[in-house]
Amino acid sequence: MEKLDLQALGLRALNEKLQNQTDETNQKDWEIINPRGSHAIAVGVDAPINVTVRGSTGYYCGGMNKQAHIHVDGSAGPGVAENMMSGTVTIDGDASQYAGATGHGGTLVIKGNAASRCGISMKGIDIVVHGNIGHMSAFMAQSGNLVVCGDAGDALGDSIYEARLFVRGSVKSLGADCIEKEMRPEHLDILRELLEKSGCDAKPEEFKRYGSARQLYNFKIDNAY
């Protein structure tokens, strides 16, 4: 385990160390201390390493992550794991708005609650929130899975494309073109795997599935003429 003191090292040097790791690195385990809510911690990492942040982070922790397993022993500010490509980001506490925004892959686990716009424009990422999520979550969500073990706020899945949304609790309202959909066996399998992977003991059968009604996919044109 290599310990990096963010306050002593500075952000650039810290990120450079992590970004310099390759697939073949022997230094697999990293610990970041004194994050003090700093922004852009552990962004752009592209190696199969384990990074633990001891404390809460500011904006964009784990942004554009590839391969790395990033664990925040605290809460995360806006845009955690934004545009993640692969790997995992796990938040022990809560996450602020835009968690997992535009993520293309990998898994984001939030053990507390997530604020508004969780999974906005997601493009393949899997997001599991043990608590609740805020309004406008999964807006224009293109693909991937968003699992919410608690409740969802207003306008869930507004203008959604092909992402799958699973909510165990209540949904305050659904956004434009988002509807409840049949939960088929293959969906239960996906859900079971994600719940297990994220350390959540909820049962897949307790969830409802939401997705696109596909009514906004093409402009409505009166072709009477």
Binding site: N83, T102, N223
Partner: protein, 448 residues
Amino acid sequence: MSDKKQNAIPQTVPVQSSTFSKTVNAEIRRAAATGIYDIRGGGAKRKVPHFDDLLFLGASISRYPLEGYREKCETKVTLGTRFAKNPIEIDIPITIAGMSFGSLSGGAKEALGRGASMAGTSTTTGDGGMTVEERGHSSKLVYQYLPSRYGMNPDDLRKADAIEVVVGQGAKPGGGGMLLGQKISDRVAQMRNLPKGIDQRSACRHPDWTGPDDLEIKILELREITGWRVPIYVKVGGARPYFDTTLAVKAGADVVVLDGMQGGTAATQDVFIEHVGQPILACIREAVRALQDLDMHREVQLIVSGGVRNGADVAKCMALGADAVSIGTAALIALGDNDPRWEAEYQKLGTTAGAYDDWHEGKDPAGITTQDPELMKRFDPIEGGRRLNNYLKVMTLEAQTIARACGKSHVHNLEPEDLCALTLEAAAMAKVPLAGTDWWPGKPGTSY
């Protein structure tokens, strides 16, 4: 002559309404028939105050010119000197604006890269990600960071020579992009992670930041991911140029890209193109004023776009304080867009060469704004690149000609004092004297 004709009562001549013109009425009938707003490509077509309303004064007894073909007149520009370790150096003050693969064919993107590289300048990706052809043929490539984040990934980000955070564009400040189903081919769908054939609408604002304070943090993140190597541009539409430029600089931009309402788009609502945003002429001096107020003029570079067509336009932008210009529509025309050689086919589409703007339908006879494999075969990227290079060379020579005539050894040495305006509107917007006077509306120390 018959008595009847001699005594006929004079008739009024039929008068077409200026308000309800033939064009307006046709649009009302089209809207009534279809129930959908008109979508088209390109920029504003209405007449607005523009560079043609400005003139250079040239040299005289009090100013002497440089020899037209012999004396040095530099055109090199360095972009991104503020924070980037590797600023972009271009040979000419003309760059190629962002246009997406998807809206343009792969061949057209390749041609833009070829032509720009031959001319020693940069080209720019667009909504939809970076293609191999584009990266391979562009010696300097600016990677746009857009609200949609289609195809965005850290590997391509690190391959870029600069990153352009797109906040808005001149054709539609406050609006997102459109790419209609006809152009969502398998490859485009795969790059954007969308179902094939849908009418794709891109978001109008970024998904993970709002406001200038957030933008500063977003720029920090992008710099951290790219190791502070490449310049970060911020592109804004011609909405509130003074404030937008100020906020972009405060957020940490290396370069501000300012796009007026004549700047093109692949597709959006006609009502948006024609009624939102300001002409570029009205924006440049305000952006420069913002940079000067922050003591950042020439420290943060300003690229302007929106209706730049020739070397005179380039020189006028330089004189108003820009560091470089960007061209989109003009570059497409150089490649062969709207060429009269395809007139018969334009007629079949219900239009004519020069007016064709239904780029979103993917039926471009010139094979440029299409994903149709048969139409794309008509376009030769090598020939397109050659034509673009020639056009860029001509624009540069023209700008140098004017700069020398004004006695300037670098196009950046052109200044507002070299200009006068032909109209009151242009004088007010460009803040240069009305021709034959020493006055413009709003000139400090004068009353209206």
